[in-house]
Amino acid sequence: MNDIIFKIGGAFLTAILAFTVGMFYAGLRRKITARVQNRVGPPIYQNFLDLLKLQSKRTNVAHGFMGHMAPIWIIIAAMTVLMFIPILQNNLWFENLTLKGDLIFLLYMMVFGSLGMALGAGQTGNPNSAIGVSRGLSQMVGFEIPFVMALVALMLQFKTTSIADLMHFQFTSGHWIILENPFAFLAALLSSLGMFRYSPFDIVGAPAELASGPMSEFGGKYLGTMMTGGAVFAFIKLVLFVDLFLGGAGNNSVEGIMGTGLGLLELLLKTFLFYMIPVFVGLVSPRYRTEQAIQFFWKWPSVFGILAILWALYKNGTLL
């Protein structure tokens, strides 16, 4: 009985945490962008207000079956992936389903939402949406390659495909993977720039050319749901990188509520630091063309990816 309470309560807690942190970071990004551009900018909680407004609107128009499905698929992908990502080490509240699926599953599950979005945008008939989808899918082929190389390198080096195992290794040994396999971190970091879709890789939404691309026909509750999904996804990506490379979070030595609090603080600190990389890169870069964006990932990031695999093989003694 106690177990079930932990499971259900933990799932809710995880969802609320992911949502709050994701929305909060999005607001922070707007603020930082504004300050860099010498504006005052909206308050940090502006995204919550936006969401409240969108959710209180009544939708008048419908875009057919796939249009209805798009926000649902996004929320499915966000919730499912969230349940399989370990948030804190050794914490009953945040255990969820972390041991029931591995990295390959996560990699494919993360595409689910984008696919739903793409199909929904396709049915609206807006050519801007279709162009945005075409760009987004093409870019995905770009950044997934170095990212997968980094993941394969980690899997080979530590002989596991489970993200919880990788996190556990960093805890028990005390070595972070960023130092154990720096090339993998570089490849993943560069591909994360594409994953977050900020400048110079914001070719999907591209406000000036595509009028927000795939999103352009959605409004009201559907847009609000998509925003929520996006915020949760941003959190998921950050936690994934922290879990894989920066040692994860969760303080082992302190028990109880205090331990959880400290762990969450550690998580916030690490994710925030990592989040600032794509944000600051975005602030100073203009937009790439689609083919440039794809080719970017096939150049240096992929070289780092190959080096990461070779390094992993060297480390576990298969090479030489």
Binding site: H63, G101, I104, F105, L119
Partner: protein, 616 residues
């Protein structure tokens, strides 16, 4: 009465009967063909058991037909898809010419495939292989009856090359190992790449051509997209698997051995051939504008994955290959049926002409959506299981680490053409030209829906396929293959719980559907595809918002070096050069008596000069 031969007799009688029924009453041709295949399948699964063997003499050669777990596994693909494809054919081919010819060839193809999987000696394997190839050739040229020379020629030539390679290998097996039985040849080590290496290479060539492996795939796109869609379902879904069946047989020597060092290079070469096939098939699929051609190239790519799986030689890898063989039959069969339904209802599958069919053909769209998700390998549908097995096999059990990246590139790029297929035919702008289009007839929808629901169920319970696949693997040399109903695990002990994932996805779907969609559904009205945000400008009636041309142009530009490799051109150049080379010999025949006299004199002089060498 021997069961195996009477099974073949059913199909043969079926072929002849349908041919003649067609000239009496054309209405019943399709139904009779369908009933014959249904009868054959029922007969197969009720009367034929694993371990049945039938031995007889023909012209002094001992022939042996039989069924084991491995061939039983492939019979599911052939007969299962065969029944559905024929049910689909009834309406699809209705009203077209030469139905007797179509159905007779169709039944003969199924006869050939069943023959291939039950033959246990090389002579009957070759005979049935040829029956299968010729019957399918007749169907490839069905739509180009009067232009045979241009349309079917590539398939013809490559099939002939494959057949000659196979025949050569069979002759050498008889010569060196003195047997024609497949089992004995494997036992005596005919395929172990030790002594007579050309024997397995020739056989792999023969089978590889049917499985459309690079660089022998060039016949496939044209043949798959030109033949009637109801046949392509079988052609790509089941007949290409005959090549996989053969490759599996040849490699079974490798699976049986415990230290397979001989196979290192074979493994590497076959694996990379499969990988390159997958990448090139995918790259060409995503630039096609014809949905049928897109599916044809995608078939080539999917077969590449299967070859990669077979080449690993590990339990997980071969399991992935066998699993994908069935799954590819399911989703690609369904997709070719979808293309056929669109072709029948609209008249074309050119994606630059058709779009926005989702509201006209909702059930067809549903099948297309499910099958595309299975193809792309997105959980919780069946395709994901195959992808998972293949990746984990390559990462954990094989030492071919860079092949993983190649496969991953191909399957990520597969999202592009998957989306292109759905968007091109079903989404996008609703056109005036397709306003009258109706949903496909019910007898075409039933087989499509069965296949679609199949890939949904298998996504949660892949054990349904693992069970016969594990038996099949034990029949070709593996020991103790373990499997679980809805749990995937690799040798490092990492697991993925599929049923749990499906339940989670399903429950989130229900909650979101109830609270998000249903709540506001009543008050909304459907707006057409013209009522879109255009920054305040009202689009005119004649204005066109269709985006279908050069859909992935940016990707094409980014990957342009890869598009320079064109196998078609290389084969054409090879053909031209060979022709020029033999053209030189043609010049010897000048038609002038004087020249011939000169040749005779030169020959005599040479004979005199070298007489010591020659006659010593």
């Amino acid at each position: 009465m021997e069961m195996l031969s009477s099974l073949l007799l059913i199909f043969l009688i079926g072929a002849i009967t349908t041919y003649f029924v067609d000239s009496i009453n054309r209405k019943f041709t399709g139904i009779i063909a369908f009933l014959f295949v249904l009868l054959g399948s029922l007969f197969f699964y009720s009367n034929i058991h694993i371990g049945d063997v039938f031995v007889f003499q023909l012209g002094g050669i001992e022939m042996q037909w039989g069924i084991n777990d491995y061939s039983y596994y492939f019979s599911y693909i052939v007969l299962g898809l065969g029944v559905l494809a024929l049910l689909y054919s009834i309406k699809y081919i209705e009203g077209k010419a030469r139905q007797g010819y179509f159905y007779a060839s169709f039944l003969l193809t199924i006869l050939g495939m069943i023959g291939v999987i039950i033959s246990q000696d090389f002579v009957s394997l070759f005979i049935f292989w040829e029956i299968m190839t010729w019957a399918s050739f007749l169907l490839v040229i069905y739509n180009a009856y009067y232009k045979v020379k241009t349309k079917g020629i590539k398939y013809m030539i490559f099939s002939a090359i494959g057949a000659y390679a196979m025949l050569t290998a069979i002759v050498f097996i008889k010569e060196h190992y003195n047997t024609l039985l497949i089992g004995e040849a494997i036992e005596r080590g005919a395929f172990n790449f030790q002594q007579y290496r050309y024997i397995p290479i020739f056989l792999l060539l023969g089978f590889g051509i049917k499985a459309a492996v690079m660089p022998f795939h060039v016949w496939a796109p044209a043949a798959y997209s030109k033949s009637p869609m109801s046949f392509t379902t079988i052609f790509s879904g089941a007949m290409s698997k005959m090549g996989i069946f053969g490759i599996g047989l040849v490699l079974s020597t490798f699976y049986l051995q415990h230290n397979p060092e001989n196979f290192y290079w074979v493994k590497l070469a076959l694996g990379w051939l499969g990988g390159i096939t997958a990448v090139m098939g995918t790259l060409y699929a995503l630039i096609q504008v014809d949905a049928k051609k897109l599916l044809a190239y995608s078939s080539i790519a999917q077969l590449g994955y299967i070859v990669v799986g077979l080449s690993t030689g590990t339990k997980l890898g071969v399991m992935a290959a066998l699993y994908l063989a069935v799954l590819h039959a399911i989703f690609k069969g369904a997709l070719f049926m979808v293309a056929g339904a669109v072709e029948r209802q609209v008249g074309t599958t050119d994606m630059t002409k058709v779009s926005g069919l989702i509201r006209r053909m909702p059930w067809t769209f549903f099948v297309a959506l499910v099958s595309i998700i299975a193809l792309a390998g997105i959980p919780p549908l069946g395709g994901f299981v195959g992808k998972w097995l293949l990746y984990e096999a390559l990462i954990t059990e094989s030492n071919n680490y860079f092949l993983v990246i190649v496969i991953f590139f191909s399957s990520t790029a597969a999202f592009l053409y998957s989306y292109r297929f759905l968007f091109g035919l079903f989404l996008g702008q609703e056109e005036k030209e397709t306003e009258h289009v109706k949903e496909a007839p019910i007898s075409m929808l039933i087989p499509m829906l069965i296949l679609g629901i199949g890939s949904i169920i298998i996504g949660s319970f892949p054990g349904l396929i693992f069970e016969p696949a594990a038996k099949a693997m034990q029949a070709i040399g593996f020991k103790d293959v373990t499997w679980q109903m809805s749990l995937l695990s690799n040798i490092w002990g990492n697991t993925t719980h599929l049923f749990l994932i499906s339940m989670l996805i399903f429950s989130v779907f229900i909650i979101a559907f109830l609270f998000l969609t249903l709540k506001g559904l009543k008050k909304t009205r459907y707006v057409g595809t013209k009522e879109i945000s255009t920054s305040g400008e009202l689009p005119k009636e004649w204005e066109n918002f269709t985006f279908q041309h050069n859909f992935f142009k940016p990707f094409e530009r980014a990957a342009s070096p890869l598009y320079h490799l064109n196998m078609n051109r290389i084969w054409k150049d090879l053909g031209k050069n060979t022709e020029a080379f033999f053209g030189f010999f043609r010049k010897l025949y000048t038609g002038n008596g004087q020249t011939y006299a000169l040749y005779v004199i030169i020959f005599l002089v040479l004979l005199l000069l070298f007489k010591d060498v020659i006659f010593s």
